[in-house]
Amino acid sequence: MDIGYDDDLERFRAHVGSVIRDILPDDLRDKVRREHAGLTPSDMRRWTRILHDRGGWSVPGWPAEHGGPGWSYERQYVFERELALNEAPPLNVFSAGMVGPALIEFGARDQKRRFLPGLANGDILLCQGYSEPNAGSDLASLQCRADRDGDDYVVNGVKMWTSDAPHADWMFGLFRTDSSGKKQHGITLLLIDMASPGLTMAPIRTFEGGDELNQTYFDDVRVPAANRIGEEHKGWGIGKYILGMERFGSAEVGRSMGMMRRLKRIAAAEPAAGGRLIDDPHFALELARAEIALREVELTERRMLFGPGGPDAMGFEASLLKVRGTEVQQKIMGLMVEALGSCGAIDAGDMRPGGDNAEPLGPDAAAHAGRVFYNLRKSTIWGGSTEVQKNIIAKAVLGL
């Protein structure tokens, strides 16, 4: 047995790592170092293009015929980890990890031709239209209607919490096409052009001041039936397939490992009791606790991915990775705020200098740590909340 990389994988790691360092623009690395603060959808477009031009690295899981590098699961895993550890932006999950694979699996030939290249090179940015005001955890109760009218669907209703909708070119969304049977039946997965007449958006500000959230309104929006993925009324299965991919990626172990390194750098620079915070035994124990908790998730993820049967054998137990991974991430971000001492109170993102000294207000991390900490409260809510994941584990794994 071996919990690490073998020689071949280690050579691969060294290679992709050095390429990533070469191609990563400084400004993007700086934003990642600020815990992704300021990383915009257009940055993601640019980064996707850079990776794409390197030989399809923007879509490491796709087969060569669709423009991917055709890597093994192990190599994909190592590559994504290297992105995070080299402080590069992540892959575009909606494109590379969710809708792309769904199109490859369930899409019509024409759809693959129309969408896959743009998803791979960043020309197409997607947003996710699942949640509604009354369909959150209980997603299957969604009400936003798509009525068939000739070759089109006519969509009416509201989608809630649509992240980055104004920057997206297309929405992949679940819509109600039949309400006569069980609520999971009669849901259809559509790709909707965000420039469609009748589609409007209203921003919802998050409490730390962010602008990623939106409400999306549909007023007789016509969507060609050719933009349906899979069969009519059968979108729930595909939608869940896509959500399953989201759950897997959202443990965000790599990102948390990057955060942990940066947290240690901050703790080594912050003063405490005449020395450095990192030498304060109380803080050091807390750091150790978080680091071990992260290692637990990392190794469990590895064991689940690369145990007998490989990733394809992984079932609902993967939910625990999302639960624990997001918990640890929130813990690490909290420690980053705490490391700043009283400067952790400063909301530099909303600074009004207006005074008469131009000195930096506090440590560099004060400019983003708090806001990112607040923003990351979302990670236990979206993509299937912690509670919903636990319900899944209780039912599907424990058989309760």
Partner: protein, 379 residues
């Protein structure tokens, strides 16, 4: 034992509650937060008219003769309604520094203005290098021309720019009045050489870093008869801690009530969220945290008059316990609101920010656990 408020105190609490509720409905509160100084002078005057600023001071200094209990009642209301005002800064910190550290003449000269709200103070003590320790002060006061020349930098001075006068801690020159040690000096906010860069704190409050560049003040600027003011500082900050704890407890109860209400009204899977047993137990934990916090507010508040070791130990116990509990309760509040909890226009996230700022002010839970343990070794 007596856990009841006097009739007078109950009336006072009710009138503070009515006024604070009237001044800080959430939307109005958010509008105030967005102003330059983060609060409205009119609101400040309304509360002054009610006697809030006068409440804790002796009558001889223009006060109403109350004390820590009145401060506790006020703080709970502030926390409940997310009220942002320079009250902690001016009345609790600055005012009590003068009350405990000043000569009788200084108290009678300065406190009446604080008590009627016409003068605002701020405590400029914390320095980044000291983290949360009170003792190390690198700001210095040199003796020169029959006065002092003060130089140094103070970080995260709460409502420092709104203050008419800053109470600045500085190392005193040797040889005066037994000499050396830390002194507290009253420095006019607009004195030459004072730089104040104001910024928002996450809870929508304001703070600033104070640069003191050879600021000249007279000998009468020194509070008290000289000598070491660390004991005074410790006592003042314990008052600040008790105030913050009561504020946090008020905030926690509000989060509990609104989250409970949300779980009773929001439905998923054809039932109210509150009908899921997993969430019922979580809410029971939230409720329990609120009850325990209320007890620890008493611990901190009612020991403020005790000997220094007892007082500080109680303050640290409360700060550690309530600091963690407030953050935990608010995080639960956000989580149980789902996506709604992440939004700017719903108060629960703002309560979380208040709890985080509370933890970053005068020492986080870890700091106070260590202080509690240290003080306990001697006890």
């Amino acid at each position: 034992m007596d856990f009841t408020l006097s009739e007078e105190q109950a009336l006072f609490r009710d009138s503070v509650e009515r006024t604070v509720a009237d001044l800080f409905p959430f939307a109005r509160r958010q509008a105030a937060v967005a102003t330059e100084e983060g609060y409205r002078e009119d609101d400040w005057r309304r509360l002054a008219g009610l006697g809030c600023m006068a409440a804790p001071f002796p009558e001889a200094c223009g006060g109403l003769g109350g004390g820590p209990e009145e401060l506790m009642l006020i703080a709970e209301r502030f926390g409940r309604h997310l009220a942002n005002l320079p009250f902690l800064a001016s009345v609790v910190l600055g005012g009590h520094a003068v009350l405990f550290g000043g000569t009788e003449a200084q108290r009678e000269a300065i406190l009446p203005g604080v008590a009627d709200g016409s003068v605002k103070l701020a405590l400029a003590h914390g320095e980044r290098r000291a983290r949360f320790d009170l003792a190390p002060v690198s700001t210095v006061a040199r003796a020169e021309d029959g006065g002092y020349v003060v130089s140094g930098r103070k970080d995260v001075v709460l409502y420092g720019r709104a203050a008419d006068r800053l109470v600045v801690s500085a190392r005193l020159p040797d040889g005066r009045d037994g000499g050396g040690g830390t002194g507290l000096l009253l420095v006019p906010g607009d004195a030459e050489g004072v730089g104040r860069s104001s910024y928002a704190t996450h809870d929508g409050g304001r703070a600033c870093n104070v640069l003191l560049d050879d600021v000249r003040v007279g000998t009468d600027a020194l509070l008290g008869a000289g000598g070491d003011a660390l004991d005074v500082l410790e006592r003042v900050i314990d008052h600040g801690i008790a105030f913050l704890c009561a504020d946090a407890a008020g905030s926690m109860w509000r989060v509990y009530e609104t989250t409970l209400e949300y779980l009773k009204t929001r439905s998923q899977f054809g039932r109210t969220l509150g009908s899921f047993q997993a969430l019922q137990h979580r809410m029971v934990d939230v409720y329990t945290s609120c009850e325990l916090a209320r007890s620890m507010v008493f611990e901190a508040t009612l020991n403020l008059g005790a000997d220094a070791a007892t007082r500080s130990r109680a303050a640290s116990a409360a700060k550690a316990a309530i600091g963690e509990a407030a953050r935990g309760v608010c995080e639960e509040g956000v989580q149980l609101h789902g996506g709604v909890g992440m939004t700017m226009d719903v108060p629960v996230g703002h309560h979380l920010k208040r709890a985080m700022v509370m933890n970053a002010t005068f020492g986080d839970a870890r700091h106070h656990l260590a202080r509690y343990a240290r003080l306990g070794r001697a006890a």
